[in-house]
């Protein structure tokens, strides 16, 4: 199957750097064109996308630094396309759309657009990208949770050609146009993806024309080996052993009383490791499952890039390619929540991925105390607001709400920011109000519940209240209403998340973390409170003046400063009573 020209002799280290830079520039350019051109806010503002170049064995040669959930997901799509490709072969000028979760997609709304790259009539690789689309005609507008199977997820594409040999496949474009509540955005955004993929293909050929096919592919292989070597060195430094952590998910979006277990075992052996999810819950009857190839594995790889190849603490960046994944194997039994069996639905998969990463960090805490951080929100709030305009057209708006990080060995957990696998941008509230029948009433740091206390405190989550100005629907995918982010090394736990809906008459009801297609009336307000992060280290070791800062900035109450941190603050003079603080801290220590 390997059609790649046999790699030439070693590419010298200088040429290697030159080609690496060229690869990275191409990937960034592809991502840039895609989000700048696109129409839906989920792509243009949130940048929920990925783009890159791939060889014939579906190895990632380079990938844009967009959002982590997309990075590393495209190879599984390519394998799925290989099994399902229309016409059974690639032709120059083809463009394929693909999103089938049982053929490698990350989840159905993430459409991949793939273009084959030909050099003098010969297939040499692929340029492709993925992006999250607003609506692909699923059971409920935008997002889904409580659905019976994968066929309720909307249009399923597998190796489907949008262009055949450069000619548009009119029937399929027509079909797409007729099967989405946001067809105009969907079509325009697919066009943006096509432009980006074609650009990548062109740049790929230019690169090869410049340096030669053998050299470029040899360099790509060396860069993968380099990334692999980097990852193996870091794994080697972790003591061999089995490390386990467990946590609970709220429910599957339908069966409210049934919590779902997540169990992570990290087996470190020499310079390789296994992430084993055996012991986690069985697959659910709703959409609350994780596609194994396109999401479970991708999240596990990302966990170790964050933990072991942290860009903030290492001087050289590891290239974004397949190499760093090779030392890691991922196991999840077929039929479990992390590896569902067809035809289970598997669209709402984000929070489980984030939770797995959080538990990998927790499992390794005993042997990597200076590297791990305390429990993060490890959730997401993904809300789909929709309605029907007087013209009869749908409007659909997808909003990703942020979380908070756990306290860290050298600094506090960042507040109100996208957590772990998520890294999107929020939609400007003014832009929203100018274009949709919604208005934001509140967007601030959470002040109803504190963050985990510690020498380094947990991050503070967000509170966001969105009011509907016309009747419509809301689907909300979230987590962590029951199991608070954990504290560590003496730090206290954070706070659970929360969601309420307030009717126009002021009555407020608590909502579960997930709900589907809820009809809401004019003036109803959904308020989301993200979990607060856990604390790291003993709160009594937090410098008193930092606690004073927290009190003055409203991150901590005077009472909490006294009771948990043992710091006595005078808010009038904005000072700390150092003597009383010392005594209070002694008392707390003695009482332990």
């Amino acid at each position: 199957m390997n059609k790649i020209a046999k790699p030439a002799a070693e590419v010298d280290p200088i040429t290697l750097q030159v080609i690496r830079g060229a690869f990275e520039t191409i990937a960034e350019e592809m991502g840039h064109v895609l989000y700048r051109m696109s129409f839906s806010s989920i792509i243009r503002e949130s940048q929920d996308l990925g783009a890159g170049l791939f060889d014939l064995n579906f190895n990632t040669l380079c990938e844009s630094e967009s959002t982590p959930m997309h990075i590393g997901s495209i190879p599984a799509y390519l394998r799925g396309i290989a099994e399902t490709l229309e016409d059974g072969e690639w032709r120059e000028g083809d463009v394929v759309v693909h999103n089938h979760p049982y053929y490698g997609s990350s989840h159905t709304p993430d459409l991949a657009i793939v273009v084959p790259v030909f050099l003098q009539g010969r297939l040499i690789g692929f340029a492709g990208n993925t992006a999250h689309h607003v609506d692909i005609g699923a059971a409920t507008p935008g997002l889904i949770i409580d659905v019976p199977d994968v066929f309720a997820e909307g249009m399923l594409f597998a190796g489907t050609k949008l262009y055949r040999g450069g000619e548009p496949n009119g029937a399929i474009w027509n079909y797409i146009r007729r099967n989405s509540r946001a067809a105009q955005q969907l079509i325009a955004d697919i066009e943006a993806q096509v432009a980006s993929a074609r650009l990548g293909a062109r740049r790929f050929v230019e690169l090869i024309e410049r340096y030669g096919e053998e050299t470029v592919f040899a360099a790509a292989n060396q860069l993968m080996n380099y990334a692999e070597r980097m990852m193996r060195q870091k794994i080697e430094a972790i003591p061999d052993g089995d490390y386990t952590a467990e946590g609970w998910l709220d429910d599957d979006g339908r069966n409210r009383e049934q919590r779902l277990k997540v169990k992570v075992t990290v087996r470190v052996r020499g310079d390789g490791l296994e992430v084993d999810l055996t012991g986690s819950a069985d697959q659910t009857p709703t959409a609350y499952n994780v596609p194994f190839e396109g999401s479970t594995k991708v999240a596990a790889y990302a966990a170790f890039r964050k933990l072991l190849l942290d860009t903030a603490t290492s001087e050289s960046r590891v290239p974004s390619n397949e190499g760093s994944f090779r030392p890691i194997t991922v196991t999840a039994p077929l039929g479990s929540i992390y590896n569902p069996r067809f035809p289970a639905s598997a669209e709402a998969r984000f929070t489980q991925c984030n939770r797995m990463i959080d538990l990998i960090i927790r499992a390794l805490a005993p042997v990597m105390p200076e590297t791990v951080i305390a429990g993060s929100s490890a959730s997401i709030s993904f809300a789909a607001y929709s309605g029907v305009r007087p013209s009869g057209d749908y409007w659909v708006f997808l909003e990703v709400n942020e979380g908070a990080y756990g306290g860290r060995p050298r600094s506090d957990g960042p507040d109100s920011i996208d957590n772990l696998m998520a890294n999107t941008r929020n939609n400007p509230l003014e832009d929203l109000a100018m274009h949709l029948p919604m208005i934001c009433d509140r967007y601030e740091l959470r002040d109803d519940m504190p963050a985990g206390a510690g020498e380094f405190r947990g991050g503070i989550g967000v509170v966001k209240a969105q009011r509907m100005l016309q009747p419509g629907f809301i689907t909300h995918e979230s987590e962590r209403h029951t199991d608070a982010p954990w504290g560590i090394f003496g730090g206290t736990e954070g706070s659970v998340g929360r969601c309420t809906i307030r009717a126009a008459d002021g009555t407020e009801r608590e909502m579960p973390s997930k709900f589907s297609g809820l009809a809401v009336g004019e003036g109803e307000v959904m308020t989301y409170y993200s979990p607060n992060g856990g604390g790291y280290g003993d709160p009594l070791n937090r410098p008193a003046l930092k606690v004073l800062d927290d009190v003055l900035d409203g991150f901590c109450s005077v009472e909490r400063a006294r009771e948990v941190y043992g710091v006595i603050v005078d808010t009038e003079s904005e000072t700390v009573d150092m003597l009383a603080t010392e005594q209070a801290r002694d008392r707390i220590r003695a009482a332990r």
Binding site: Q17, V18, G21, H32, T67, A195, R410, D418
Partner: protein, 699 residues
């Protein structure tokens, strides 16, 4: 030309860099250049010293200096050193933390220990962000909840208690209706008459709350200190007997007055690099080459800007960040990368060969400085290859130790990789050149510009060592080396126009706009023109000399990023199609694609007022008499070129070359603070002002 300068009086350009303050003086007796060390604590001391020194050099009475144009990093440094004012902020109830949350995207994907600059170094601390009741309704802009004036006064009492004297006012939807912000300002000034106050609707009347608030907060953060610096500089100049007008270079490449910059320091955050780009553009005109890519290479970074057809481009407002904070102020479109003479070369833990972005700075500096640096830098590689003569740096006033360079390259690169010292040094140069070439590409090819139609213009002391290699890497047409590459930025200051900009939010679908909408847009445009005109009037610019241009910032309805379209003086139902067409064209140029059927939305109107400043006239040098350029030959040494060949290479004193002289590579052209490399196969041609064109022989 002397008569010209006499008529207008003398002018001085002063560019303050991290290490040196560069000056250029243009007066009746000619053009003078001077360099003094930058006084880091207060740049104005070095500026005044330099001005006096350069006047003395020209035997000019300082009182005769008519204008001083100043490029300053004062405001920028405040953001880097995090020592701006403690600010108070008034904002809308429910939205206290817009500045803390930002766009909720992490600066990096794969990290647990990342820093979040807007949280760890906030422009306004949370305790000083006070939310008050008020609400403007969208999309109409009417008042939904009146301003709670008592709450504004209570906040002022708190600010007074905390001794804050800089206040930011940022309310939601103030881009639709600024009455609440204006009223709050009145109250603040009643309560705190000395306060430095910034309104978000004054600095950036555009949609998107975080970016607008951040811009206002940045203005109040750097404002008081920057205002103090500018006024102090003015006073010191007066004290030294200099009565000239003082003008400041702004980030958009235009100059402005001390008053305007003291009120809106966010417009001078990129003052430093802007001078270089304008200088480069002026050199391009002089060389008769409209399409250039400027590459300004310093010690730690390189600034790259593409200038098509002589028109300096302005960055999309979505891309203008300063120290991690978005700032909606027009800035020249340039990319800065961590590649300079001090960039460190190293082998990383997995065996990768890296150069930069870390820099050895000036302490310890490159290994050859002998100040304890043991890691090889780009400068060390140049020395190893014989391209920089260790005894000739800064005209011989800086002694460099070539042996230390060789040891550093050998120990840290050559030995670990098992290659020769020369190969290692060539590798360092090749990697750094490639990094710069990729940045050039991202600023040109990626935006639909074909570098084959462009000349590379390298400057900064080390720039001309890299020019030819960069031109080769990006397939540029040729290389133009400015007259004085070490001070091109200072020269640029004297070539800049006065320039003011104002914006207003519109947010209307153009295709559907009816007569009423068109009239409304015209009314907003007229108001903007008046604002700009008033500023030019205040500077004493004749109406006839004022130029006011209108720009329509548009996007397809539903998109998130605006591009600039041409806007007629008066919009009509007939000519609005021209605006739409101009937008489609721009979109196609930038992204390679347009949507001719889609609705086009006008988001922001911008008025740009300018008044042409008198251009500095560069002297022509003597034209060749046909004699051999050997008159400029200094000596000849062995030098290694990119193809690996080491050749006996003559050094020419650039000052002794005549216009029309042609020198075939291998050759090196030497001047006080810059070295130009002419590789074999290339020809350097001296142009009429002493500038030099280098091109491949036969090209």
């Amino acid at each position: 030309m002397a008569t010209e300068a006499t008529r207008h009086g003398a002018r001085i350009g002063v560019d303050v860099g991290g290490t040196n303050t560069d000056l250029v003086l243009e007066c009746a007796s000619g053009i003078y250049y001077h360099k003094v060390p930058t006084t880091l604590k207060n740049q104005s001391i070095g500026v005044v010293d330099g001005v006096l020194a350069i006047c003395a050099q020209a035997s000019l009475d300082p009182a005769e200096v008519e204008t001083i144009v100043h490029g300053t990093t004062t405001a920028t440094n405040i953001t880097i050193e995090h020592n701006g004012s403690d600010c108070g902020m008034l904002t809308t109830e429910g939205f206290r933390d817009i500045l803390h949350i930002g766009r909720h995207k992490r600066p990096t994907n794969f990290s647990l220990h990342f820093d979040v600059p807007w949280q760890s170094q906030p422009l306004v601390r949370r305790r000083n962000r006070i939310a008050v009741r008020e609400r403007i309704a969208a999309p109409g802009g009417e008042v939904a909840v009146p301003l709670d004036e008592a709450a504004v006064r209570a906040a002022c009492a708190l600010f007074r208690k905390r001794e804050l004297n800089s206040v930011v006012i940022g309310f939601m939807f103030s881009f639709l209706n600024d009455t609440h912000e204006q009223r709050a300002k009145e109250i603040v000034l009643e309560e705190m008459p000395e306060a430095y106050v910034t309104l978000s609707s004054e600095v950036a009347k555009v949609i998107r709350e975080y970016e607008r608030f951040s811009t206002a907060a940045m203005n109040s953060y750097v404002g008081p200190k920057t205002a103090f610096y500018l006024r102090d500089l003015e006073a010191r100049l007066r004290g030294a007997g200099i009565r000239s007008k003082l003008r400041i270079m702004q980030s958009n490449g235009g100059i402005s007055t001390v008053d305007a910059c003291a009120r809106r320091p966010i417009h001078i955050l990129m003052s430093g690099p802007a001078g270089g780009v304008i200088g480069g553009a002026a050199e391009a005109v002089m060389a008769g080459t409209p399409n250039i890519i400027t590459v300004d290479i310093g010690g730690t970074s390189a600034d790259i800007s593409t200038i098509p057809g002589g028109a300096v481009k302005v960055m999309n407002a979505r891309d203008t960040f300063v120290s991690g904070h978005p700032v909606l102020a027009p800035m020249i479109d340039l990319v800065t990368i961590g590649a300079g003479g001090g960039s460190v070369a190293f082998i990383d833990e997995a065996g990768g060969f890296q150069v930069g972005p870390r820099s050895a700075g000036s302490e310890p500096g490159p290994a050859c400085y002998g100040r304890g640096g043991v890691e090889p830098t780009v400068t060390d590689a140049q020395i190893v290859l014989g391209r920089l003569d260790p005894d000739m740096a800064l005209g011989g006033s800086l002694q460099l130790d070539a042996e230390l360079s060789r040891i550093a390259v050998d120990e840290m690169i050559a030995k670990p990789l098992g290659i020769s010292v020369t190969e290692a040094a060539l590798g360092i140069i090749r990697i750094i050149n490639n990094n710069m070439a990729l940045a050039i590409r991202s600023n040109s090819v990626a935006r639909g510009v074909d570098p084959r139609d462009f000349s590379i213009m390298p400057f900064g002391g080390a720039g001309p060592l890299h020019g030819v290699a960069l031109a080769e890497a990006v397939h540029a047409r040729d290389v133009i080396v400015p007259v004085a590459p070490g001070i091109t930025a200072a020269v640029g200051l004297l070539k800049s126009d006065l320039r003011y900009e104002h914006t207003d939010a519109v947010i209307r679908e153009l295709t559907r706009a009816d007569a009423g909408a068109v009239a409304q847009i015209n009314a907003q445009a007229a108001a903007l023109r008046d604002k700009v005109q008033a500023e030019l009037d205040a500077d004493g610019i004749d109406r006839a000399a004022q130029k006011i241009e209108l720009v329509a910032e548009c996007r397809y309805a539903g998109q998130g990023f605006e591009l600039r379209a041409e806007m007629p003086e008066l919009l009509t139902l007939e000519n609005k199609a021209g605006v739409v067409a101009s937008f489609h064209e721009r979109h196609h140029l930038d992204y390679g694609y347009s949507y001719p059927e889609a609705e086009v939305e006008l988001i922001t109107l911008r008025a740009i007022g300018s008044a042409e400043a008198r251009r500095m006239e560069a002297a022509r040098i003597q034209t060749t008499d046909g004699s051999s350029p050997d008159r400029a030959l200094m000596f000849s040494r062995r030098t290694t070129f990119d193809d690996g060949r080491t050749l006996q290479t003559p050094r020419y004193d650039r000052r002794r070359l005549f216009a029309g002289d042609r020198i075939e590579g291998p050759a090196i052209l030497v001047q006080h603070d810059s070295t130009t490399l002419v590789p074999p196969g290339y020809l350097a041609e001296v142009l009429e002002h002493g500038n030099t064109r280098i091109r491949a022989i036969g090209a």
